[in-house]
Symmetry: C2
Subunit: 628 residues, 2 copies
Amino acid sequence: MNYSPQNPKWSGRDRFVLSNGHACALQYTMLHLAGYNISLDDLKNFRQIDSITPGHPEVGVTDGIEVSTGPLGQGISNAVGLAIAETNLAARFNKPGFKVIDNFTYVICGDGCLQEGVSGEASSLAGTLGLGKVIVLYDDNNITIDGGTDLSFTEDVLKRYEAYGWHTQSVNNGDSAEIGDMRAAVKNAQEVTDRPSMISIKTVIGYGAAKQGTAGVHGAPLGDADIKKVKADFGLNPEASFEVPAEVTSFYSEVQEKSKATYEAYETMFKAYTAAFPTESAELTRSMAGKLPEGWASKLTKYTPEDKTLATRQSSQQVLSKLVDAIPELIGGSADLTPSNLTKVEGNKLDYSKDSRDGRYIRFGVREHAMCSISNGICAYGGSVPFAATFLVFAGYALGAMRLSALSHFRVLYIYTHDSIGLGEDGPTHQPIETLISLRSIPNMTVMRPADANEVTGAYVQALENAHGPTVLALSRQGCVNLPGSSAEGVAKGAYVVEDATGPLDVVIVASGSEVQLSVSASAELKAKGVSVRVVSFPCWSLFEKQSAEYKSSVFPNGIPVLSVEAASTFGWAKYSHGSIGMTSFGASGKGPALMAHFGFSVENVVAKAQKLIETYKRAAPSLERPF
Amino acid sequence: MNYSPQNPKWSGRDRFVLSNGHACALQYTMLHLAGYNISLDDLKNFRQIDSITPGHPEVGVTDGIEVSTGPLGQGISNAVGLAIAETNLAARFNKPGFKVIDNFTYVICGDGCLQEGVSGEASSLAGTLGLGKVIVLYDDNNITIDGGTDLSFTEDVLKRYEAYGWHTQSVNNGDSAEIGDMRAAVKNAQEVTDRPSMISIKTVIGYGAAKQGTAGVHGAPLGDADIKKVKADFGLNPEASFEVPAEVTSFYSEVQEKSKATYEAYETMFKAYTAAFPTESAELTRSMAGKLPEGWASKLTKYTPEDKTLATRQSSQQVLSKLVDAIPELIGGSADLTPSNLTKVEGNKLDYSKDSRDGRYIRFGVREHAMCSISNGICAYGGSVPFAATFLVFAGYALGAMRLSALSHFRVLYIYTHDSIGLGEDGPTHQPIETLISLRSIPNMTVMRPADANEVTGAYVQALENAHGPTVLALSRQGCVNLPGSSAEGVAKGAYVVEDATGPLDVVIVASGSEVQLSVSASAELKAKGVSVRVVSFPCWSLFEKQSAEYKSSVFPNGIPVLSVEAASTFGWAKYSHGSIGMTSFGASGKGPALMAHFGFSVENVVAKAQKLIETYKRAAPSLERPF
């Protein structure tokens, strides 16, 4: 493997992913030996608060860790993303004689990773895409936590991977001191460049321990006596802990020298590349640093009420169309809902495929979970800004990967359309009710539900400017008129006054997405009845939470009752409102507008509820009462 | 197929699942022709509010629909559950000469279902379990919404299914009027009883239409002219709509007669079975009706503070141990976390497997999503109460299936342990922060986080008594002392006073799970300082919401500030509390107690925050102010 302990983020490095992250003690130890910034003390602090050696590998915490693994199936799926990024950047930046992007992606995984559906999805796609530089070493030890794999995992794994179009090999002596067979298999795998490679390596879990070959060594320590025996059997000092034999130190010194030479050769090559192709070099350096091109947002325009009413998925298409041109590293696609998500535009019309590595549109297939996990991998590689699209409700298929985007501080754009019952006839299986809430409750996940085209613009700007976390754009199938008071700048604050009253307020109506236009219509009717109403558009809760107390109170003034209107679960709205119009059940199959009216999203109902709320709070004694 | 349109819930029927639920217009039409309670008017009302012909099949809405499908991959995975239930009940109830349980499970699915990871997980397990009566007809039409399958799905599907241990066949003339090949393949599949069967049937999408063979006929109507042409080409009246040719009506009359005869033969057999085996017959009839055995809860005991402190996962093990004995239809298992979830007890020590169909413990493997989807299938079959176990955080892998449990009104028990940062060293990838919130926001999903053994008992009682929806039991790895004031009856109300003050209240502390004991400890310290404190245990939000306004106000009295303490996201707590101690970030790797203290779950912090809250509300003008 090529790597540089001194510059762990060296873009020429091979990527290594420990998909069975629970085995990270080994990885930390190898990183220590290889010269990374992990001391013996760090190893001793394994699994302690604030250590750089947590219980599962975490990107950003430990040098040499590419992605956060542990939830099974993610690492191998991330690797597919790492390889997509590599091949795509190679196609864009390499020049004859200058392979500035050229690395393998190695994965170690166990039975657990291969049982998880997400790995199957990602592996099938990797086969279609012919990602020949992915090499998976499968620790085939026949044991999972519950016991032998005969309990639940009797399939022929290599045959399955052959069916996916992978190159497969078997090594039967994974525990032997003779590692020549493994080396040879890896060499073969490196030479097969048109297909990803899977090498099954037969091993015995806890090899050499008293309980070897049983589930008993999976999660529990061996015990002192057995540890001593194992150490002695392998020629180590049984009484010593955290002692590296001189022989090992000396071996790794040599390895480190070799690594350094490789690294320096690359640096020399990159200097020559920079001299020959200064534009490309600057561009690659910029994008690998996670910086967007100068002036990327300059082509975005302001919409006015005279502009055509669009569904926000359509506004998204218009905005995305400009962004794809302005930001060459924007790459992504849909989980087989391209014509619905509207994520394919002129600038990304070329698909990324086996035959067109420079394509910028990824056909993920009907594989939401892998799509998100792969997007994490693309982001982890550096140099790309990935987006992933499906229906909002199918976030429920992919939360395992999406929470890792947030935990890993990955800038992934989730373009999720069909945001509510407003999608209509597909019915409750396709209508998100709880999904917005689920996503809003994930730390470091920014969730946007824009009300019109200006807010869609603002949502994209916020999403792209946030280099340290993912953003969900919840977009409508239903039309959203362009509001006179909407603005991209308002979106930056999370919530803002989109229409105000002149005199002292009777009530504030707060809404998101398509319910903002409804609230504006209701406000007109209320004003005609002499009620003083303010309408607040609330596209993003987490951005609002970051505002000053002064700003928050200026939007929701003290003592004024607030009514929330959102075609989603009312869960969580009590923080901001005293009454809510929202969903308290699943949706139904029917025409979108009919459903909206059926579930109370009508001017009539908003007006009635607002009036009732005003009355309630006139009558109620001022108190700490909660709005049960 | 065996079925009875007059008694759609006939337990002897073959089960049919349309996994690609978007094709349900065809299923509704077939149900109409077969004599089910679906009229031509119902067919005309396709996809309208309150019709029995919604946009995707929904169990409980339409006779003849076994499971709700549409989210791809679910139906075929449900089918694995239907077959597990069938084989298990057959082993328990059939007697020589009396196959009272004996049916096939047929599935139609498309490319989309087979791309989804959940179907891979379920199919791999089906292979291990040798579910020979599952027969999948794969509509192999090479088209998905985005276009041809060459874009993203080039794998060899049949080879993959062979690798899973399935019997596979190919039929190349799926569009031909000559259906003999299909019949023969199904007959072969029926005869292979040791392995599930997959039959790939080559078809042309939109066969006969102008746009046949393209993605263009997937989601959009053909257009009037083309519809007329297709009708004419197939010998129908091009001008007529919703007209059933006499020939078809007559054919289906014959089919209906045959079905009736089969049904009546079964009924006769079942009468003889009842005479010969009255106990078994009554037991089968009871469990198929979804009723629990008389007195099932009688063995459950009350815990006292003198009883040993247990993690709630350990109390769960004790309770489950009694329930498994009391409720023979309780069947389930873990996604390879049995030693952690503690779901295997004496009464279910026999694994359900190929060789022991009467086993009651299911080894799901590392397959959370399939586990939940399979559990839905087990419930859908009738006669069983399924449970499914994993770590709480991995609900994020399975929400796609879990929301369908809720939508389908299925009684599935989700036994999810390792409920918080309290799990310790595994770190943030394994520590749920947002998961409780995600689950609480799903309509008809009951979420329980019990505080001690009595509450665990209460949580199981509520979960089992609710025949119309799933329940999540969020259980701890950390120890929970048995509280003097806890009770199973309190759990039934969602929230209740677990420790009270004598005089007028200064503050209410509300908590769930292991934070109740913390709150009780903090309360002792506050009382020593002269503060009048009430502690409320709040195991279940949705049950509390169902209580009367009087009861709610009796728990949270008007005008008294409330502090919530829960080792999860504070999201949503503003509905009940004026201040919160909770998580606003991901967790960390470290010892459980150290992490709890680190993130503010200490007596000291609870006392300080409670005092601060009392002060704040003494100073604050009574108002509608929100606690930003």
